[in-house]
């Protein structure tokens, strides 16, 4: 057993204290033959500190495309020649999407907009949408609308949005290579306001943007410092027309190493499989991740790309004897 896993067994599994940056890096650098042991330990940590339940979420894009920011991985930036056109979702279809999500047993429905931050039109659309969902669907509503002002944070709380997603995307040292139209620190400031408002903080990122293994460890440590309620982990799905459109996808084993390492850095967080898992890991990888530290999934489709059918994920959870977290357990 590698020294880092011995140390993690005591520190993380028994005492609930996450690995620091150096520890995460050691896990990310483990040879392939030690990967099963790392995943096994991460799974034990997840079971010990989070339990067997899996939080299921659906997401939908309220406003797609035409974003003024230049996040180099994103097909929704208006600055690249991506085939994604700008489109708004109306309220009846938003409610229908929430119903589709609730029908899978999901407890979370996240409404996402491709914007730098919300304007008055978007806030109005969201307010009407959240009210309509709350009137008709038994599900918790989360939102992801970019950078917020304090007034907008207060407004979201008042609407009843219970969790806010704002990804740091990558570590602080690599962020300027990925986004130039705003800073990592601006994102951090929104996260600080969300935290102080009492909303749950959802913050993760994307692996495979060209960051080094050291920077992946840096990112895990920075997320651990933020201590979000939820960390969505995406793997780059290179999008045609974007600056990262020609990057290779993350190797399956590197993705699994990262899952184990992020779990060992954050023993209590909701660690969610988000976009790119189908491409990076295929069907088998979803199972490996759920047995290696992941305790939440996005089911169904993503914002501009498709996922595997929700029924496939639900069947897998059933096979693994991992119950879907119920609404009553989250309130």
């Amino acid at each position: 057993m590698p020294e880092i896993l011995d140390r993690a067994r005591t520190q993380v599994l028994e005492n609930g204290v996450g690995l620091d940056q150096a520890g995460v890096l050691a896990v990310l650098n483990l040879p392939d033959e030690d990967l099963p042991a790392a995943l096994q330990l991460a799974h034990e940590v997840r079971m010990r500190w989070c339990g067997p339940e899996v939080e299921v979420e659906g997401i939908v894009s309220l406003k797609t495309g035409g974003c003024p920011e230049d996040c180099h991985f994103c097909s929704q930036s208006g600055l690249f020649t991506s085939p994604v056109r700008s489109v708004w979702l109306d309220i009846p279809n938003l409610v229908a999407a929430a119903k589709q999500t609730a029908a899978t047993g999901a407890t979370e429905f996240c409404i996402v907009a491709a914007v730098r931050g919300p304007d008055a039109r978007l806030m109005k659309q969201l307010r009407e949408g959240v009210a309509a969902i709350q009137a008709e669907v038994d599900i918790q509503v989360a939102a992801s609308l970019g950078m917020l002002t304090q007034e907008q944070v207060d407004e979201l709380v008042e609407m009843g949005v219970h969790r806010y997603n704002h990804n740091l995307e990558t570590c602080r040292s690599y962020f300027p290579n990925v986004v130039t139209t705003h800073s990592w620190e601006e994102r951090w400031e929104t996260l600080r306001m969300v935290r102080e408002s009492g909303m749950e903080v959802c913050c993760g990122g994307i692996l495979g943007l060209g960051e080094t293994v050291e920077q992946r460890a840096e990112f895990a440590a920075q997320l651990a410092e933020l201590d979000p309620h939820e960390v969505p982990l995406n793997f780059l799905n290179p999008r045609p027309g974007t600056p990262l459109g020609d990057r290779p996808v993350v190797e399956g084993k590197d993705a699994l190493r990262a899952i184990a390492a992020f779990r060992l850095a954050m023993p209590r967080t909701i660690l969610r499989y988000a976009g790119g898992r189908e491409l990076t890991l295929g069907d088998l990888g979803t199972r490996d991740g759920l047995l290696g530290g992941i305790n939440a999934v996005i089911v169904g489709n993503y914002l501009t790309t498709l996922g595997r059918p929700a029924t496939d994920d639900l069947k897998l959870l059933d096979d693994l004897k991992m119950p879907v977290k119920a609404l009553s357990a989250t309130l």
Binding site: Q100, P240, N301, T304, T305, L306, A310
Partner: protein, 69 residues
Amino acid sequence: MTELSPTAPAAPWCDHCGTATGAGDHAACAAARALEPPRYCDRCRRRMKVQVLPAGWSARCVEHGEIHA
């Protein structure tokens, strides 16, 4: 739920990359379409307005109307 065939053999344009189906190899496009909605109208190659939903998608060409799955 019935999904229309990604790009019918007779369609002149690839609904994934927007180039002519008669020229070049679109095998990778067809493979990508398993996890992506169409982006181009396969009849006129216009970029479509595409809305992805948790359990489906719709794609609208201003000239040829809406398809969905």
